[in-house]
C-alpha cells in the first residue's frame, strides 16, 4: 500500500516520468536506434547483451527495467535475432548466461554512467567473428530525480500478463502439501496432504469435490511438532501410481502404491522425497530429512534409486545446508538445480552436480518451489507483508519477473497444475483465523 502511494505521489509530482517518452526511455531508444542502424543491412544477426554495468544511482531493479526496454526494442527488429541471456542483476552488474556466447555473432556491452547533471548510456558492439569492437555509441540525458525514483520503484511487471491468483480455496488446519495428477481421460485429481490423511478431490468448474480419503497411520518414533510440515509426491511407476508422504513428525516417509483402486502402504523411505528425477537413466527419489519436530531440513540431500521393493541402503547423501525449504528443478526429468533457503532466509542455488553457485547476499526467502525447469516461486521472509516472487529459471538463472501480494503468512509453496495451467499452490495462514485454517491459492500464468 505504502509503495503504491509512493508511486502515485511520484506520478503526481513528476508528471514527465509518466509520459510515454521519458528521459530513460529516450536514452534506451537512442541506444536501440544505434544498434538498429548498425544492423540495417545485415540479416538474422545473432545478438545479445552480455555485459551491463551500472555506475549511477539507479538500483539493480531499475537497471533490469532499462535492460527490458532495450531487449524489447531489439526483439522487434527483423534484422536481428536478439537473445535474452540475463540471469540476474545484482550489485550493479548484470549476470549473463555465458555458455551461449558461441551461439552469437555480436555481443553488446552496456554501461550506465552518471555525471553531475546527466545520466549516460554507453554501448559497444563487439563482433565475435572479427574479434574486435565494431561500434561504440554514447548518449546522455538529464534523468530527473523523480524519474530516477520512478525507475527504482519495485514493480516488476504487469501482473495481468504474468503470474496471478487464479483460484482460492479454504482448507482445514495443517494442510502440508498439494499435488495433482491428470488421468488418461484428462481429468485431474488433487491430493491434499494432512498429517493424518490425504484427501483426494476432483475439480468441478471452479470448485473442488471430495472423492475419497486415505487415512495415514504413523508409528514410533513420532515427533509431535508445533508446526507440522511435510511433502507429498506422486509419480507413475510400472503402470501404476506411487505416492510418498513424509513430514517433520516422523523419521520416515510412507510409500503408497495404487493397487486395485486402493492406496496401500508398500514401503518406507528414510527421508522425505521432494521430487523424482532421472539420474544415470534410472528413476531416483530426491529429498531431505527434517530435523525431528522442527521446521527445517537437516544439512543433507538424499537420493534413492527407486525400485520395487525399495532398498533404503542404496541412499546417497550430499551435504548442503540446514534449510527452511528445499526443491529440485528438473528439465525433462533430469536434475537442473537445487534451490534452498537456509536458516538465515538466504537463498542458495546448487547445480546438478551439487556445487553451490555464488550466493547472492540480497536474495532471501522463506518457502519456495520450482515448477519444472521454468519458474521458481519464493515467498518473502517477513511476517507483516508476505508476498510471492516468481523467478524465470529457464536458463538456469535467477531472474525475478513477477511479484504478488498474499494475505497472511505463506506456509508452503508447491508446484502444480490447476485446470491445465501450470503454476504454484500457495498455502497461507490467516493471522486473524482462530481455528488455524489456511487459505490455498493457485498462482499461474493465465495465458500460458
Amino acid at each position: 500500500m505504502k509503495k503504491g502511494m509512493r508511486l502515485l505521489l511520484i506520478l503526481f509530482l513528476f508528471p514527465c516520468a509518466a509520459f510515454p517518452q521519458s528521459s530513460a526511455e529516450s536514452l534506451v531508444q537512442e541506444a536501440a536506434d544505434h544498434v538498429q542502424a548498425f544492423f540495417k543491412n545485415k540479416t538474422a544477426a545473432r545478438v545479445a547483451v552480455v555485459q551491463f554495468e551500472n555506475y549511477s544511482e539507479l538500483t539493480d531493479l531499475a537497471m533490469q527495467k532499462v535492460y527490458q526496454m532495450l531487449t524489447a526494442r531489439l526483439e522487434n527488429d527483423t534484422n536481428i535475432k536478439a537473445a535474452d541471456l540475463l540471469l540476474n542483476f545484482a550489485n550493479g552488474r548484470g549476470e549473463f548466461n555465458k555458455s551461449k556466447l558461441n551461439e552469437l555473432d555480436y555481443l553488446l556491452y552496456l554501461k550506465i554512467i552518471q555525471n553531475k547533471s546527466k545520466t549516460g548510456l554507453g554501448m559497444a558492439i563487439f563482433s565475435r567473428w572479427q574479434d574486435k569492437l565494431v561500434s561504440i555509441t554514447y548518449a546522455e540525458k538529464n534523468i530527473s530525480a523523480g524519474e530516477m525514483e520512478f525507475l527504482n520503484v519495485a514493480n516488476f511487471a504487469f501482473p495481468e500478463l504474468g503470474f496471478a491468483r487464479l483460484s482460492e480455496f479454504e482448507s482445514k488446519k495443517d494442510l502440508l502439501d498439494v499435488q495433482s495428477i491428470t488421468g488418461a481421460d484428462g481429468s485431474a485429481r488433487y491430493f491434499f496432504f494432512y498429517p493424518d490423511e490425504i484427501i483426494i478431490y476432483a475439480a468441478r468448474e471452479d470448485r473442488l469435490e471430495k472423492q475419497s480419503a486415505i487415512k495415514l497411520k504413523w508409528s514410533r518414533p513420532f515427533y509431535p511438532a508445533l508446526h507440522r510440515q511435510g511433502k507429498l509426491l506422486i509419480f507413475p511407476f510400472n503402470q501404476s501410481l506411487v505416492m510418498t508422504a513424509g513430514g517433520n513428525f516422523s523419521s520416515y516417509a510412507q510409500v503408497l502404491t495404487l493397487t486395485n483402486d486402493q492406496w496401500l502402504e508398500t514401503a518406507k523411505v528414510n527421508f522425505v522425497p521432494c521430487k523424482q528425477i532421472v539420474f544415470n537413466q534410472g528413476l531416483y527419489l530426491a529429498g531431505a530429512r527434517y530435523e525431528e519436530g522442527r521446521n527445517y531440513f537437516k544439512d543433507r540431500i538424499y537420493l534413492l534409486p527407486f525400485s520395487d521393493p525399495i532398498d533404503n541402503s542404496g541412499t546417497v547423501e550430499k551435504k548442503t545446508f540446514p534449510a527452511y525449504d528445499i526443491d529440485f528443478s528438473t528439465q525433462e526429468g533430469q536434475l537442473q538445480g537445487i534451490h534452498l533457503i537456509d536458516r538465515n532466509y538466504q537463498y542458495h542455488l546448487l547445480t546438478a552436480d551439487f556445487a553451490e553457485k555464488t550466493p547472492e547476499v540480497n536474495k532471501k526467502g522463506a518457502s519456495l518451489a520450482a515448477s519444472d525447469g521454468q519458474w521458481l516461486a519464493v515467498s518473502d521472509y517477513s511476517r507483516q507483508a508476505d508476498q510471492l516472487f516468481f523467478y524465470d529459471i529457464k536458463a538456469g538463472g535467477q531472474r525475478p519477473v513477477y511479484t504478488g501480494k498474499v494475505p497472511g503468512e505463506i506456509q508452503f509453496i508447491s508446484a502444480g497444475t490447476w485446470q491445465t495451467v501450470k503454476g504454484f499452490w500457495v498455502c497461507c495462514r490467516l493471522s486473524q483465523d482462530n481455528y488455524g485454517r489456511s487459505m490455498l491459492q493457485f498462482w499461474g500464468k493465465r495465458h500460458d
Binding site: 513420532f222 508445533l226 522442527r294
Partner: protein
C-alpha cells in the same frame, strides 16, 4: 581503537542490534534453538515436589500435566486427543493421543495415565482427597482412560488441572514434560534439554539452564514484587509462600513451642526482615481471624531452650535458609540442630517419633478461595495429627460452601483456624510474595493460572 572510532562502532553495533531485532520480530519462521537461563533453588532429586514456587516451576519443566489451566481460566491438554464427560454413565473419557513417547522414546500410553492418576490419588494432597471422594473407579482400554464418578460432576476436568497431577513414566529416567534433565552439576546448574517427543510439540528452545548461584545473570528469576530490574519485565505470579513451624508430637510443652517460635521470629529480624510477618494461616488480607502468638524475650527464650536438645527438621524446599539460619543458631549458642529433609523422607518419618519440630512451607495462589486454602492446610499440614474432628470440620466447610452465605463461610474458616492454633501443632511464621521477572529478550513466555512460566513457545533473541 581511537576515541573517534568508538562512538561510530557503538552506533554501528546499536544499528545492527536494532536491525537484528527487527529481523527477528518480523521473520516469518519461528526460530528453533537457543537457551534460557532461569534461577531456581536446587532440587534434591527429580521426584515431583511442588511445595514451593521454585519447585513448582522446575517440575513443570520436566513433568507434563494432564490438563493446564490458563490465566483466563481456559483448559488445555497436550496428552489427550479428546476428553468428554458421558453424563449417562457418569464417566469422564480421556483419549490419549497416538504414538506419544517419554523423553527417552519409551511409549507413553493410557496405562501411564491410569497409573499416574492413581499415584496422585494416593498422595496426602487436599486436591487428591477431594478427587478421591468423587471417583468410583478408573478403567482403561488401549488408548482410553475412563474415570467413573459416584455422581454427576461437571467440574471434574478442572479438578484434574492441578500442578501435582502429572504423567509419570515407569522408569525414573524418562520424563513427560517439554524438557528433560541432561546434565546436573551439583551446586551450580542443571541443564534441561528439549524433549524431542514432547506431546505438545518440541519447544523452540534447545535448552533451559537452571542456575543455582548468582555467578551468571539469569534470564528468568523469582523475586519479591517490585524489585525493579533494568531490561526485565515483572509478572505478578499471584503466588505467595507461607512458612510454618509445626510440632508433630503432642508432648511438646507450650513454653518450648513459644520459645522456638520467638527464636525464629528473631531470626527474621536478625536477617533484616526478609519475610513478611504472618498472623494468619493463609494471608492476612483474606483471613477472618488474626492470630496473635505472643513472643517471649530473648533471655527467656535462651533459658527455655538451653536445656533442650532440639532437632529442627526443615523441608528441603527451604534449603535456601540453611546458611543464614545455621549462622544465627550458632551465634545464639543454643543446642539446636537443623536437618534438611525431602518431602518423601518426611512422610516416611511420620510414623516414628523421630520428628518433633518441623519447618515447612506451602505455596498458594492468591486467586484460590480462602476455604480451599484452609482445607489444604488442615489436610496437608496436620500430618499424623489429622483426626475425626478435622475430617468433620472439612465436611462442614464443604456444606457451608454450598450454602451461598459468605458470612457462614467466613465463620467456618475462622472456627477451623482457631481450632488449629489452639491445638497447637502449627504456628504461622512468615510469608513471601513472588513476582516472576523475565528478561526483555525472552519472548512468548506464557504464564498459567498457577503462576508457572511455560517455555514451550518461548524464544530468546539471538546474540
Amino acid at each position: 581503537m581511537t576515541r573517534q572510532q568508538r562512538p561510530a562502532q557503538i552506533a554501528c553495533s546499536k544499528f545492527l542490534t536494532m536491525a537484528l531485532a527487527v529481523f527477528l520480530v518480523f521473520a516469518i519462521k519461528p526460530y528453533y534453538g537457543g537457551e534460557i537461563r532461569i534461577k531456581l533453588n536446587e532440587p534434591t532429586s527429580f521426584t515431583l515436589n511442588t511445595a514451593n514456587y521454585s519447585n513448582l516451576v522446575l517440575y513443570s519443566l520436566i513433568y507434563e500435566n494432564f490438563f493446564y489451566l490458563q490465566k483466563n481460566g481456559a483448559l488445555s491438554t497436550n496428552v489427550f486427543e479428546e476428553y468428554r464427560f458421558d453424563a449417562g454413565s457418569k464417566t469422564l473419557i480421556l483419549t490419549v493421543k497416538d504414538n506419544l513417547s517419554f523423553s527417552n522414546g519409551k511409549p507413553l500410553t493410557a496405562k501411564n495415565i491410569q497409573v499416574s492418576l492413581k499415584m496422585f490419588l494416593g498422595t496426602n494432597l487436599f486436591a487428591a482427597s477431594k478427587l478421591n471422594k468423587l471417583i468410583k473407579n478408573i478403567r482403561m482400554t488401549d488408548n482410553q482412560v475412563m474415570i467413573e464418578l459416584l455422581a454427576d460432576h461437571s467440574d471434574i476436568v478442572s479438578m484434574l488441572a492441578v500442578p501435582e497431577l502429572v504423567v509419570f513414566a515407569e522408569n525414573e529416567q524418562s520424563f513427560s514434560g517439554p524438557f528433560y534433565p541432561d546434565e546436573w552439576e551439583k551446586n551450580k546448574h542443571l541443564v534441561l534439554k528439549a524433549n524431542p517427543f514432547y506431546a505438545g510439540g518440541r519447544a523452540y528452545l534447545d535448552a533451559i539452564k537452571v542456575i543455582f548461584t548468582d555467578e551468571t545473570l539469569p534470564d528468568v528469576f523469582l523475586s519479591s514484587p517490585r524489585s525493579l530490574r533494568e531490561n526485565f519485565q515483572e509478572f505478578d505470579s499471584g503466588i505467595y509462600q507461607n512458612i510454618y513451624l509445626c510440632f508433630l508430637q503432642g508432648d511438646v510443652g507450650q513454653n518450648t513451642k513459644l520459645a522456638l517460635y520467638s527464636l525464629l521470629k528473631k531470626f527474621n529480624e536478625a536477617t533484616g526482615f526478609k519475610y513478611k510477618e504472618l498472623h494468619t494461616l493463609t494471608a492476612d488480607e483474606e483471613s477472618p481471624v488474626s492470630i496473635q502468638i505472643k513472643s517471649i524475650s530473648t533471655q527467656k527464650t535462651a533459658s527455655i531452650l538451653k536445656s533442650s536438645d532440639i532437632k529442627l527438621y526443615i523441608l528441603a524446599s527451604l534449603s535456601y535458609l540453611e546458611k543464614d539460619l545455621t549462622a544465627f543458631l550458632k551465634d545464639s549458642n543454643l543446642k539446636i540442630e537443623t536437618l534438611f529433609i525431602d518431602d518423601s523422607q518426611m512422610m516416611n518419618f511420620l510414623n516414628s517419633t523421630a520428628i518433633t519440630y518441623v519447618l515447612i512451607d506451602k505455596i498458594f495462589q492468591t486467586k484460590i478461595p480462602a476455604e480451599e486454602k484452609i482445607s489444604r492446610i488442615l489436610k496437608e499440614s496436620s500430618f499424623n495429627q489429622f483426626n475425626v474432628k478435622y475430617l468433620r470440620m472439612l465436611g462442614e466447610l464443604e456444606e457451608v460452601k454450598y450454602s451461598n452465605s459468605p458470612e457462614l463461610l467466613m465463620e467456618q474458616i475462622a472456627r477451623i483456624s482457631e481450632t488449629i492454633i489452639n491445638d497447637g501443632f502449627i504456628f504461622p511464621l512468615f510469608q513471601k510474595n513472588y513476582s516472576l521477572y523475565i528478561r526483555n529478550e525472552c519472548r512468548a513466555v506464557d504464564i498459567d493460572y498457577f503462576g508457572r512460566p511455560l517455555f514451550q513457545k518461548a524464544s530468546k533473541a539471538r546474540e
